[in-house]
Subunit: 124 residues, 2 copies
DNA sequence: CTGCATCCGCTACGATACTG
DNA sequence: CAGTATCGTAGCGGATGCAG
């Protein structure tokens, strides 16, 4: 392995680590939803259509563990739990938005590439 | 679902789609490696330590399908296959680098948050 | 050298039911 | 309301062997 690839491997491990969390199916939706305003557990569940209660729990746990969101418990009856972005979470929103802009700007190109690829596959 | 969350869901689906590809364990490494210069199949395999042949094949197929990399076959004996970024792939490198910078800049904060979280878990 | 096919374990995920 | 627990399944990903 070259020095250059070693340096890349080092950086890539960190980046992969972040991407493993941010890139997981639901994390980005939770972060984006909380980016608008804080939400309660079931508010998140309702707004993020299709997510199961289990996955929402696991997702917010992971995000909280990484310090991207905070979980505020109000021990009333019924209990109330609010989730909100931390400063760290908000700072993540910026590069993620950049990636989001890329995705939206190039969605057509990607879609075309896929159709071409799949079509050529049929000819082989 | 509100109009706002509907608009988010729409955008998030696209973003998730991109992240599902880019965020997969090996894709970013392949893109980053090809970002430096084109590589042959086994060059990639050697530089990206830990990747299995199967996953490298699947990863480059996926990236090729999405139009992010090109696969050039030279039918000699032994056969030679080169992979390189497309313009689309290079344009992706920019927002991904931004995310990479964030990851590197905040790796310590995330690591600290995790340790704190895990420590508090033991107390509960 | 570059891949594809097969087998197989593992874990992520969804559905459901139960608790404080 | 906000979870936890359990179970079943499906797909990811590694190891190996074969082919062009």
């Amino acid at each position: 392995m070259t020095d250059q690839s070693q340096a890349c491997a080092d950086a890539c491990l960190v980046v992969s680590d972040v991407l493993a969390r941010v890139g997981s199916k639901w994390s980005i939706m939770v972060v984006a939803t909380l980016g608008r305003r804080p939400h309660r557990f079931n508010e998140l569940k309702r707004e993020i259509e299709g997510i199961s209660q289990r996955m929402l729990t696991l997702t917010v746990r992971g995000l909280e563990r990484d310090g991207l969101i905070v979980r505020t418990v109000t021990p009333t009856i019924p209990p109330r739990v609010d989730y909100a972005l931390t400063d760290l979470g908000r700072s993540l929103l910026e590069p993620v938005s950049a990636l989001g802009d890329w995705a939206i700007a190039n969605r057509a190109a990607v879609e075309r590439a896929r159709q071409t690829f799949d079509a050529d596959l049929g000819q082989s």
